[in-house]
């Protein structure tokens, strides 16, 4: 059927709209990336001369280094602890019926609605009471709570998609419980667990609001260090840091995609 001129026009407009939205999404990224390679001390767009000095400055800045190492300590611990807690609760919620179940779910998901500064402030007050101020423990505990809803959700979805009859089928074919676990249950739940953990890592690494309250000079995470830097300086070191950050995440996701399949890690069911 020949398409009318009006339909063609609509098609072109649609494509333009999509391109405009994509461009809008990527605009900040583009601005930051170009500013990072500028040689002048004030972030300007477009940059006049290209230089890598702000990368050198960012990498060499002691607070960024310390913040990065602190983040490297806090992030895997909080994601891992949240994964263990989240998986346990997800299992309990999926497999058992009990009173106050919906209330429990509500409590577990509450960090989604409670503002992060509330949780941060709460932990700060608590930390003062039991003299844990300026320790990693309080930062990690705080992050565990904040990333728990996301980890829980991710594990819960993969449990939901898991058909318990697969375990029964394996048993009927002669697999004792341990081999059922290794050959059927774990391989099928692993993508959900890994994606939950990756979610936790990304969220914990990015977390700023609550971290501002619970970190001290010794334990400040990278986002807090960045915030403090911006308060004092206005050069494009931040932009350089942002570029490195984006590249690091891209590399991480590429690795996850290569070895696990991003579709699986993000729990996207693909039909062929």
């Amino acid at each position: 059927m020949p398409r009318s001129r009006f339909q063609r026009l609509l098609g072109v407009l649609g494509i333009l709209a999509v391109l405009a939205i994509l461009g809008f999404l990527l605009l900040p990224l583009f601005v930051v990336a170009t500013a990072a390679f500028s040689s002048s001390a004030l972030p300007s767009f477009p940059p006049k001369n290209l230089s890598l000095r702000w990368f050198v400055n960012a990498i060499g800045y002691p607070d960024f280094r310390a913040g990065f190492w602190n983040s490297l300590i806090v992030t895997p611990w909080s994601a891992s602890i949240a994964l263990v807690i989240g998986a346990t609760f997800a299992l309990a919620i999926e497999h058992y019926e009990f009173r106050f179940k919906s209330m429990l779910e509500g409590v577990l998901l509450s960090p989604l609605f409670v503002p992060h500064f509330t949780i941060g402030l709460g932990f700060l007050v608590l930390a003062v009471q039991i003299s844990l101020v300026n320790t990693y423990a309080v930062v990690i505990a705080c992050h565990v709570i904040l990333v728990l809803p996301f980890v829980l959700r991710s594990v819960y979805i993969s449990l939901r998609n898991f058909d318990p009859r697969l375990e029964l089928a394996a048993a009927s074919l002669g697999a004792p419980p341990r081999r059922v676990l290794v050959t059927v249950t774990l391989p099928l739940l692993l993508p959900g667990l890994v994606s939950g953990w990756l979610f936790g890592v990304l969220l914990s690494f990015n977390e700023f609001t609550a971290s501002l309250f619970v970190t001290g000079q010794r334990t400040q995470t990278l986002p807090v260090a960045m915030y403090n830097y911006v308060r004092d300086y206005s050069d494009p070191s931040m932009a350089a840091l942002a570029v490195m950050y984006i590249v690091a995440v891209a590399v991480l996701l590429t690795i996850a995609n290569t070895f696990l399949g991003l579709g699986k890690v993000l729990n996207v069911e693909r039909r062929t």
């Binding site: 029964l168 048993a171 074919l173 002669g174 697999a175 099928l188």
Partner: protein, 360 residues
């Protein structure tokens, strides 16, 4: 191994909380037969299957497979083959790995595994699909894979849990024939669970009709269809008409029932204990009803309200004010059925000595 009994239930009881899903049930499954457990949902048929599989153990009584008590034997040591309604194929494995699973669990050498997987794939006519994933296959193919996976371990019993209900009608019919052929050729003892009575009638060596945790009747499809021993069996298996009648006389073997102007002889077994002049319900199959012109003396009367053309025969639905269900179904040959148009007043006569009567 020997012995004619492959699976033996001896006074088995299984409770869930305070509800008895199976109570005091005894059953022998003969070696090599295909026994169907047929009943409405919640009748305990799936529980019975799960007891053979060992997914839980009975609260009372004993279950033996091949003469060996298995009450406390875990599923993975029972040597059973199981096909689920949803097939439960392992989504992360190829077709070949799915089928090989049971053999790998038995730690067989690789060469044996490859050979046996190849054999069973040709048995279910799916050679060449070894490297596919289950989700790349059609429903019928998935089912064959599930069957192949269960058969490759040479199970002592094959358990089928409503395996055809997810297939469309045409595919279902051809899969049933194929399954029956494979089952007969291998001579594997099979317990088949379904709620579909036509499936049960066409596939089984024997059928056990279940309701409320009990076996109501067990027998060949023909016995069940022509000689139901209970109201429940008669109304559950096949289409059936119920006509209200009166008991005229009864002796050791025969009873005479008066329905309208007709007198029908029925076996007395199902109405034993009743006395003459008591009301009874007469159960008659649709193909045993005949239509006559209205006004002549016959068993009942009514109006044709619908005609369903089925190819070889025609189903006529007749509204009948005097019948317990208000409706009758007559199954006539195509040439006979087209004589009666919708809205016609008809007389109904019963052309059989195979009707069965039950107390009302």
């Amino acid at each position: 191994m020997g012995g004619a009994v492959a699976v033996h239930f001896d006074r088995v009881t299984k409770r869930f909380g305070s509800v008895a899903a199976i109570s005091d049930l005894s059953l022998e499954v003969r070696r090599g037969e295909l026994l169907t457990l047929l009943g409405p949902s919640g009748c305990g048929k799936t529980t019975l299957l799960n007891l053979v599989a060992g997914f839980f153990s009975p609260d009372g009584g004993s279950i033996s497979i091949d003469g060996r008590l298995v009450n406390d034997v875990p599923t993975y040591r029972r040597e059973i083959g199981l096909v689920f309604q949803s097939y439960a194929l392992f989504p992360h494995m190829t077709v070949a790995a799915n089928i090989a699973y049971g053999l790998r669990m038995r730690d067989l050498p690789k060469r044996d595994i490859t050979r046996r997987v190849g054999n069973v794939l040709s048995l279910v006519k799916l050679q060449g699909l070894e490297d596919r994933r289950p989700r790349q296959l059609s429903g019928g193919q998935q089912q064959r894979i599930a069957l192949a996976r269960a058969l490759v371990i040479n199970p002592k019993v094959l358990l089928l849990d409503e395996p055809f209900s997810a297939l469309d009608k045409n595919l279902r019919a051809s899969m049933q024939i194929e399954l029956r052929e494979i089952q007969r050729n291998l001579g594997v003892t099979t317990i088949f669970v379904t709620h579909d009575q036509s499936e049960a009638l066409s596939l089984s060596d024997r059928i056990a009709i279940m309701s409320e945790g009990h076996i109501r009747q067990i027998g060949t499809p023909e016995e069940i269809y022509t000689n139901p021993r209970e109201r429940f069996v008669a109304s559950f298996v096949g289409d059936v008409n119920v006509l209200r009648g009166k008991l005229m006389g009864i002796d050791d073997t025969r009873a005479i029932v008066e329905v309208g102007a007709a007198r029908i002889t029925v076996p007395s077994e199902s109405v034993r204990g009743l006395k003459a002049s008591m009301p009874v319900d007469l159960f008659v199959r649709p193909e045993q009803l005949q239509l006559t012109e209205a006004g002549k003396p016959c068993a009942s009367a009514g109006t044709v309200v619908a005609a369903v053309y089925q190819g070889a025969h025609i189903d006529l639905h007749i509204e009948c004010a005097d019948c317990p269900h208000g409706r009758l179904l007559a199954r006539l040959s195509a040439s006979e059925g087209t004589k009666w148009s919708i809205g016609t007043q008809v007389g109904i006569s019963i052309s059989t000595d195979e009707a069965i009567a039950f107390a009302t």
